[in-house]
């Protein structure tokens, strides 16, 4: 009795092959030959669970079948992969082919971290842009690379992904970092290692929670300074300035130093702006709900006196944020020192 599967010659009368265990032909015996069938109710449920379990290996159908034809620009699987790719590499991770984009992912991480580190500079923006590009390529690679073979279509997909991701990054920046703001200062403060033109990192919440003490660097919108017939306008809308006088204090200048209620302040900690240095002796009482702030203006020394009231007094409600660290240049990056 020869086995049909392995051709082994068995002893006559055997029902199964001695070598491979197959049923020998001619040894037909009673066996149920009708397979089990799936119930009608189970079909949609199983299809749903299958799709949830392994959406990326299934052929299109199901949800895509419900879509109108004009919406079928891409398959449902590609769409799902793009949605997952909002987190770079997640779609590949789900598809267990993360290794294919390992270097792109590494590039994205490097670009993003470097871009965040240098955020605010041209190089920082360039690096964030490169991170977005790497992210778009990962999303494209997750689904559309096989779906759209034509070069033009691929280029179109990448551009659309770039625009979408740029919006997403902008949204994340706005929502996650809503407490943070960058501002520039025109002051040079040796005590804080701050120089004119430095970019400082400020937080909105600190201006509301912390007590604003003398020496605090705060972000305020500078008002227009009008002196005589010449109108001097601010160089930027918002500027980091230093609080010198607190509400109710009497502020003046003597020997290139601020004088508060008759007490002379250290000029290294509270430098006097150049436009105030050539002035006559003056004294101003800070109103109850305002602060005396110092900042540089492009005002001629001969015409400053009338401008002090409008340029150096900032209302409590006008103070938007409190600076916490020097952001640029990198050589001076660091947290600000507290004033005693």
């Amino acid at each position: 009795m020869r086995c049909q599967q392995c051709q082994f010659e068995n002893v006559p009368g055997e029902s199964r092959c001695f070598k491979c265990g197959s049923v020998l032909s001619g040894q037909s015996f009673a066996v149920d030959v009708h397979p089990p069938r799936m119930g009608k109710v189970a079909r949609p449920l199983r299809a749903m669970f299958r799709r949830l379990r392994c959406w990326h290996v299934l052929p299109d159908g199901g949800i895509q079948a419900w879509l109108p034809d004009w919406l079928k620009i891409m398959s449902w699987n590609a769409f799902a992969a793009i949605i997952l790719s909002i987190v770079p590499g997640l779609a590949h991770l789900a598809q267990r082919r993360f290794r294919q984009i390992l270097w792109y992912f590494a590039g994205w991480v490097v670009f993003l971290l470097a871009g965040m580190f240098l955020y605010g500079s041209n190089m920082g923006f360039l690096l964030v842009g490169l991170a977005i590009a790497a992210h778009a390529w990962i999303a494209f690679h997750a689904s559309l690379i096989k779906e759209h073979a034509e070069a033009g279509r691929r280029a179109f997909d990448i551009v659309v992904l770039l625009v979408l991701l740029a919006f997403i990054y902008w949204g994340v920046r706005v929502s996650a970092f809503r407490d943070f703001v960058w501002g520039y200062t025109t002051l040079t403060i040796p005590y804080q290692s701050v120089q004119s033109g430095d970019c400082l990192f400020a937080r909105y919440s600190r201006a509301r929670v912390d007590t604003l003490s003398r020496g605090s660097l705060v972000l305020v919108p500078l008002r227009q300074v009008a002196v005589g017939r010449a109108n001097w306008t601010r160089a930027r809308g918002e500027m980091i300035v230093q609080i010198v006088g607190l509400p109710g204090e009497k502020v003046g200048i003597s020997n290139a130093s601020f004088v508060i209620n008759g007490k002379v302040l250290d000029s290294r900690r509270f430098p006097v702006p150049r436009w105030l240095l050539g002035a006559d002796t003056w004294t101003i009482v800070v109103p109850a709900d305002s602060y005396f702030v110092s900042t540089e203006y492009n005002v001629r020394p001969q015409t400053y006196t009338e401008a002090i009231g409008s340029a150096c007094l900032a209302g409590s409600s006008e103070i938007e944020a409190k600076a916490v660290m020097v952001w640029f240049p990198l050589a001076r990056r660091g947290f600000l020192r507290p004033y005693e």
Binding site: Q4, Q5, C20, G21, S22, V23, L24, S25, G26, Q27, S28, F29, A30, V31, V33, H34, P35, P36, R37, M38, R43, R46, A47, R50, R51, R53, C54, V57, L58, P59, D60, P68, D69, W70, L71, K72, I73, S75, Q95, R96, R97, K146, E147, A149
Partner: protein, 254 residues
């Protein structure tokens, strides 16, 4: 009709036994296997499955019957049942590479990729690897988005010959069509339609492929499929959708 015409008498029965009316085929397992293949090519998987069962009723050790049942269950989307049934078939034909490959396909379509890969690895490691095993391997690899799936399909087509080669090309075309490689699928399916012009399944698959590529010939293919298998709901639906596709689908060729 006379009153006692249906009564059976010993002598008459003995005379009739063993005599086969001229022109009628012997309804053995082979016959039902052919019938099942015919229904499969017509796209009627339910009837094909029934015929495979009838083939096994004739001979429960008929291997193509077991394999056919499993493949039809997969075609019908009953993957769990197919896995159960292939286990039963494996009891009778242990370690059979085609059955293992069929189980790999059932697992892959059910989204159980680890099992699918394991069964495919097992099947491909056997000695007498057939084209069906290579096709199953290709399906598992396509699910993993592997680029070497195409090589497995080429291998399957190259080792299949004759009528079996046609079936393999049809399966390869269907596989590529399902997985979105329409251009490659079209080549296989065109070759098969030339050889099997009366197969509704082939015309339907060709139509699907052409529709995906935005080719107007798809309508003719669907109509051909409906001509071969009238009132086939799947083909009717595909034809209706192709005729009613929207502006953007026409613009983008999808």
């Amino acid at each position: 009709m006379r009153r006692f015409s249906h009564l059976e008498f010993g002598d008459r029965r003995d005379e009739g036994a063993g005599k086969i009316p001229a022109g009628e085929e012997i309804r053995d397992a082979e016959y039902f296997h052919k019938e099942a293949l015919r229904y499969w090519l017509a796209g009627d998987f339910e009837l094909a499955l029934r015929n495979y069962s009838r083939a096994l009723e004739q001979n429960s050790t008929y291997y193509p019957g077991w394999l056919g049942q499993v493949l039809m269950l997969i075609e019908l989307g009953e993957y769990k049942e197919a896995a159960v049934w292939v286990d039963k078939a494996l009891e009778m034909f242990p370690e059979h590479p085609e059955l293992l490959a069929a189980k790999a396909v059932a697992c892959a379509r059910d989204g159980r990729m680890e099992k699918a890969v394991a069964y495919s690895d097992n099947s491909i490691a056997k000695d007498n690897v057939t084209s069906l095993v290579w096709l199953a391997r290709a399906e598992v690899l396509l699910n993993r988005k592997s680029n070497i799936a195409q090589n497995c399909i080429s291998k399957a087509v190259s080792i299949a010959a004759g009528e079996d080669g046609l079936m393999v090309r049809l399966r390869a075309g269907r596989l590529l069509n399902q997985r979105g490689d329409y251009a490659a699928a079209l080549q296989y399916l065109r070759a098969v339609t030339d050889e099997l012009p009366r197969s509704a399944l082939t015309w339907y698959e060709l139509g699907c492929c052409q529709a995906k590529l935005g080719r107007p010939e798809a309508q003719v293919s669907f109509e051909q499929a409906l001509k071969m298998h009238p009132d086939w709901a799947l083909a009717e639906e595909a034809l209706r959708k192709f005729k009613n596709r929207g502006f953007f689908a026409r613009l983008f060729g999808r």
